[in-house]
Symmetry: D2
Subunit: 143 residues, 4 copies
Amino acid sequence: MRVRLELSTEPADYPFRHGVRVRFAETDAMGVAHHAAYVPYLEEARVEYLRALGRPYGEIRAAGFDLAVLELAVQYRRSARFDELVQVHTRVSSFKGATFQIDYLLTVDDDVCALAATVHGVVDTDGRATRAPGWLKELLLGV
Amino acid sequence: MRVRLELSTEPADYPFRHGVRVRFAETDAMGVAHHAAYVPYLEEARVEYLRALGRPYGEIRAAGFDLAVLELAVQYRRSARFDELVQVHTRVSSFKGATFQIDYLLTVDDDVCALAATVHGVVDTDGRATRAPGWLKELLLGV
Amino acid sequence: MRVRLELSTEPADYPFRHGVRVRFAETDAMGVAHHAAYVPYLEEARVEYLRALGRPYGEIRAAGFDLAVLELAVQYRRSARFDELVQVHTRVSSFKGATFQIDYLLTVDDDVCALAATVHGVVDTDGRATRAPGWLKELLLGV
Amino acid sequence: MRVRLELSTEPADYPFRHGVRVRFAETDAMGVAHHAAYVPYLEEARVEYLRALGRPYGEIRAAGFDLAVLELAVQYRRSARFDELVQVHTRVSSFKGATFQIDYLLTVDDDVCALAATVHGVVDTDGRATRAPGWLKELLLGV
């Protein structure tokens, strides 16, 4: 599965939203959040999404699975500044065998800040690709 | 310009190489370099590439230009572990008006660790897009 | 002013508390939050403390002041793990001329996770030490 | 063992030196290296020190030991800026039972940038404090 970045810029298209405030440590000498700082924001949003779905990531790991990151893509639109609250709108956009994509729309005060996507592979505790169990697929697809 | 990630996995196709050793602080609880840690590696490699080309990034900024990151894409192939030396093979792959793409091939002991690309926009000191001056284009394209 | 780390381990001795959840990106190959990850937690807590006191850090900067970090000390007691909620109990412990100390007690589930302190200097926009204005001193000391 | 920060500002008093270049990702909106960025510099320096002593950290871990960080102290003197080369002068200053202190003098162009110290505890693979084996003590004390 190759990451696709033709994403909706409509918050209403995303079932989950998580707010992250830009730390001063995450800013750079251009005075804005450094572009690498967004990557942990995406991770934090999907961890919170799993918690909201009733299955904290710790339970998934305890069940013997990990969700390895296979691909990452980010399109930057408008800088986020120190202390601004970035809303990370999140959705699972596709699921195929052992891999799935999560889409993210990042906004600050309703302005689009960035679009992003991550492709994940379900792996076992030894890091080997494994088919997603039914409950995990249902969980992520909201079936 | 949209980032493209059909990259060569042949180190010989990249004119520059920079080594980065994985810090313990960059590993995560899966025991490998966290996927977000690669993003500063790319930045460090392009800064060193500019220095090797005879034009440290500080001089570009002093001349009134910045190279903002517009897009980022990473494809992860094999994890890098603590203390491993990651070679970041780097090249400028295209230049169009005020934007250009840099490609990266990351290897550890000749294994492909990741492929990545960043799209940059030349901006002035106020962050506004501006046409790249001739010397910058020549520098990056090696004309 | 030299940092002092003889701190109270009683949450009740701290007037402010801010919760930070450990990101996966902040863990290391020992499976716990990396010791460097705590430093931004302290920063985040003092920024939230200023906001709670009615004076967001942005206003202090807009007024022409910055609170540079002069010293830092951390004593680690018990590791924090991925997804745990770290409570950062915070207080201003002393103020002298242009410098002041902030103390931090970090707890997870009522266990002491770490003790920390930062010494700050009030500086002007050029980074030069300057006497703290009355309103800032009153703000921080809660007078 | 409590960390002590009465350190020499003479590079000649430190047997080992490691250079780290400030990444743009490590700068902050004040235009200098963020104070938290120094902590991984210290770690990188002690890892390189162990390698120079002939015993890479990986071998110490393979032998069943880890060097947990128990305390950290940093005194900031002069900011380091993007792309500056920070020299981290390093020495083991004391060893007592299962704990030892490492001192660091950070300089940029011969100016003192910061002083720092870390106190470490030798632990086994389960994270329990254990007496340092003779070879490790000899290694670190250069006996």
